[in-house]
């Protein structure tokens, strides 16, 4: 269609030295709603381009005078936003490649049908819209960064003055002090320091949330870093009569951001000191394989954390002790910042605790932090994580609808975030990686379909299920564009929740490797019933082949296989970085030696002895493990 629903006519410039073709295109395209301007030569075409803005240009390549590629270059100089389509009867690879490199949208061979051309036009126009969209979002992002940078300077300058003068006075540089004056100044100094910490935390958090926290990846020596952290925190620990010990082998090096790592460790050790009245705080580091990781434990003998509070621990601004006396002062931001930093470095953080005994914070980091230039690997947007991690992002221009959705999702365990237009929605989707998105269609400026296309075209976001919430029902179009389901307004709370929950357990791929056909069949049936996609292999060689064809999420591996056995399969996985991240469960009737056991323990999630249990028990065990909240793997 030459005009979209908003009755906008697109302008097309047709450049061809063949009169018949020019006339045909002019007639045919005008008929389809385009505004058409023709030119009989490259020079004429460029002349026209200097006087009028075009959305689309279709140009012949072989013409006397200026040829198509020269025209393309000319147009891109005059009107870079016009999308140019090269059309020719004499196609050569060199001109095709050259045209594409010079910025042509596409290349079409004569003779072509008008329909074919119009399809290209539609796609070209869409690409233009998307590019503009991206340009606007990038500008927004840039403004945000600038703001953050300025703010940080503006806030720190007066803080410097306050801290500076208080310090001078306390050092008696402005004369002697009465005890009350000294007291008052000390209070000013303490408050100033707390305020500064708060400012730093808020700025850090803003930067992290905006994705504007650059990382400096370099080789980091774990032992050296821990020693530096201990040096910084030693006096604080001493003040409170606590022991600070470390267990870090030499030679552990990981590629990550040294400063941020220290920041996280200082936060964890600081918390440990704060919440421990007596005893020891210990820092331990170890390496893991499958995939190669470093694990840091910060353990204390402090007051511990209640089970129900653990979920809240990493939330921003949440403090576990909300009592008026506020025995443990703090901003409640430290852990949420630490968590975000750890995740930025490609890792994960969790905690184990027992009230009255103590807490252990465990930070797991990959040996190689993700490169800042590259797109982060798309995070699984459904399934794992505590319910509070599951965000539902709703995009709707009607505040009433957003409010209604928010109310309906109360108490369901999902966290609701609303956006009142497409741009805001997409920006939030990129930041939050929501569990699911609900989308209104009728919105001004950027309508639902355009938002949908933008989401599905973004490799980071395309896996997120999208639900159209609308009074309109154009299901065929929706499903063909990638919509997961429809929720027709006015909607029913039960329907809303059940549809959202349906995408909780995406079917996962399990590769079952066992040479015993009875066992494989049983596993296949059972797992199939639970919604998993099951692939089978009867020996090690086939298993390796299957893994190369499609990387499974889970591997159920029997050790005793003909020709290539389970250990060799494990070795293959270890040698193959592309197979990192597979959850491996080993089943065996074999009695394992200690050496074999240790080897396996370091590489697989669970070892099941077939002989000791019957198959249903094994299955139950496996399913509990599979269904349990996944350990976020680094």
């Amino acid at each position: 269609m030459g005009s979209n629903g908003m009755s906008q006519r697109y302008c097309v410039l047709v450049i061809d030295d063949e009169a018949g073709l020019r006339d045909m295109l002019q007639f045919g395209l005008t008929d389809r709603g385009y505004r058409v301007v023709v030119a009989a030569s490259g020079e004429e075409g460029l002349e026209k381009a200097r006087h009028e803005k075009f959305d689309l240009v279709v140009t012949d390549i072989m013409m006397t005078g200026l040829d198509g590629v020269a025209v393309l270059k000319g147009i891109k100089e005059i009107q870079p936003q016009a999308e140019v389509i090269m059309a020719t009867g004499y196609a050569t690879l060199e001109t095709a490649v050259e045209s594409m490199k010079q910025g042509a949208y596409d290349y079409i061979s004569k003779p072509y049908g008008l329909d074919q051309l119009c399809v290209l036009f539609d796609k070209a126009v869409e690409r233009r819209h998307l590019k503009d969209q991206v340009g606007r979002l990038e500008e927004l992002n840039r403004l945000k960064s600038e703001f953050l940078a300025n703010m940080s300077h503006e806030l720190r300058t007066p803080m410097n003055a306050i801290i500076g003068y208080a310090s001078l006075m306390l050092d008696r540089l402005y004369g002697d002090l009465l005890p009350k004056q000294e007291q008052g100044l000390k209070r000013i100094e303490t408050n100033a320091r707390n305020l500064l910490q708060l400012i730093n935390n808020i700025l850090d958090l803003s930067k992290l949330s905006a994705g504007r926290m650059p990382t400096y990846i370099e080789p980091c020596d774990a032992k050296a870093i821990v020693e530096e952290v201990v040096a910084t925190m030693a006096s604080l620990a001493e003040e409170r009569k606590l022991r600070l010990v470390t267990d870090v082998p030499a030679g552990i090096t990981l590629n990550s951001d040294k400063t941020k790592l220290k920041q996280v460790l200082i936060n964890l050790v600081g918390n440990a000191i704060k919440f421990t009245h007596e005893g020891t705080i210990s820092i331990k580091v170890e390496t893991l394989t499958g995939p190669a990781r470093v694990r840091i434990f910060v353990q204390d003998t402090g007051i511990g954390i209640k089970d129900e509070d653990i979920a809240l621990l990493f939330e921003e601004f949440k403090q576990l002790d909300a009592s008026p006396t506020r025995e443990y002062a703090g901003t409640g931001l430290g852990l949420s910042i630490s968590k975000k930093i750890v995740e930025l470095l490609g890792g994960a953080i969790r905690v184990k605790s027992a009230v009255g005994v103590g807490s252990t914070f465990i930070v797991t980091l990959p040996m190689q932090a993700p490169r800042p230039d590259d797109l982060p690997v798309a995070k699984p947007s459904g399934g794992c994580g505590t319910p509070l991690d599951k965000v539902i992002l709703s995009i709707d221009d009607d505040p009433e609808v957003l409010s209604l959705l928010a109310d309906n999702l109360q108490g369901t365990g999902y966290r609701f975030v609303g956006a009142s237009n497409g741009q805001e929605g997409i920006a939030l989707a990129r930041q939050l990686h929501p569990h699911a998105i609900t989308l209104d269609i009728m919105m001004p400026h950027l309508d639902g379909w355009s938002v949908l296309r933008l989401l599905k075209n973004d490799p980071q976001l395309r896996a997120i299920p999208v639900f159209i919430v609308s009074i309109m029902e154009n299901k065929a179009l929706g499903f063909s564009l990638g919509v997961t389901d429809y929720i027709v307004k006015p909607f029913d709370r039960q329907e809303l929740i059940s549809k959202l929950q349906a995408c909780d357990k995406p079917p996962r791929t399990i590769l079952v490797v066992d040479d015993d056909p009875d066992i494989s069949r049983l596993l296949d049936e059972a797992l199939h019933r639970d919604g998993y996609t099951v692939v089978m292999a009867a020996n090690g060689q086939e298993a390796i082949r299957q893994m190369a064809a499609r990387k499974p999420d889970v591997l159920l591996l029997d050790l005793m296989l003909p020709e290539v056995d389970g250990f060799e399969v494990l070795q293959h996985i270890e040698n193959n970085p592309t197979l990192q991240g597979i959850r491996i469960f080993v089943m065996t009737a074999k009695n394992l030696t200690l050496k074999e056991n240790t080897y396996l323990e370091q590489r697989v999630e669970m070892i099941v002895q077939k002989g000791s249990r019957d198959l249903t028990e094994v299955l139950d065990l496996l399913k509990t493990k599979l269904d349990a909240v996944k350990e976020v793997s680094a």
Binding site: A149, H153, R156, N160, A161, Y165, S167, D171, Y174, Y216
Partner: protein, 133 residues
């Protein structure tokens, strides 16, 4: 000690605080409120150490540092940069422009004094002449 320290910062408070702290440790303190004034002071008063804020009007800290480093007669000058900007890589940039050291604001005045003291010590140990020529 007759060591001269020049503090170049457009922030009145910071200039005052640093001046007070250094004077109390017997340094002779000169001040400038912008880069250009700082450059003039360097020519006329010949300080030994310069504390410079990186974002000053007229001539900012980076450019001032670069100018100083271009002049071989000023090679003995120690340059200590500071700034309230929290830009990643500011320290690296400052050192690339020719600064010898870098302090992030906010900072305690006694820390600034300690840093200046340590540079004086270092220069003494190297056997270089401390007073300006």
């Amino acid at each position: 000690m007759n060591i001269k320290v020049l503090i170049a910062d457009d922030d009145f408070d910071n200039r005052t605080i640093v001046q007070e702290a250094l004077a109390a440790s017997d340094y002779v303190v000169l001040s400038a409120a912008d880069g250009q004034e700082a450059w003039q002071r360097i020519q006329t008063d010949k300080p030994d150490i310069i504390l410079l804020d990186l974002s000053m009007p007229k001539l900012n800290g980076w450019d001032l540092a670069r100018r100083v480093r271009q002049d071989p007669a000023l090679s003995h000058l120690k340059l200590i940069a500071f700034t309230a900007h929290a830009l990643a890589g500011a320290e690296v940039k400052a050192k690339a422009a020719g600064c010898d050291d870098y302090i992030a604001k906010p900072c305690l005045p006694k820390d600034v004094v300690a840093r200046v003291n340590s540079w004086v010590e270092q220069t003494r140990e190297l056997g270089a002449k401390t007073p300006a020529v």
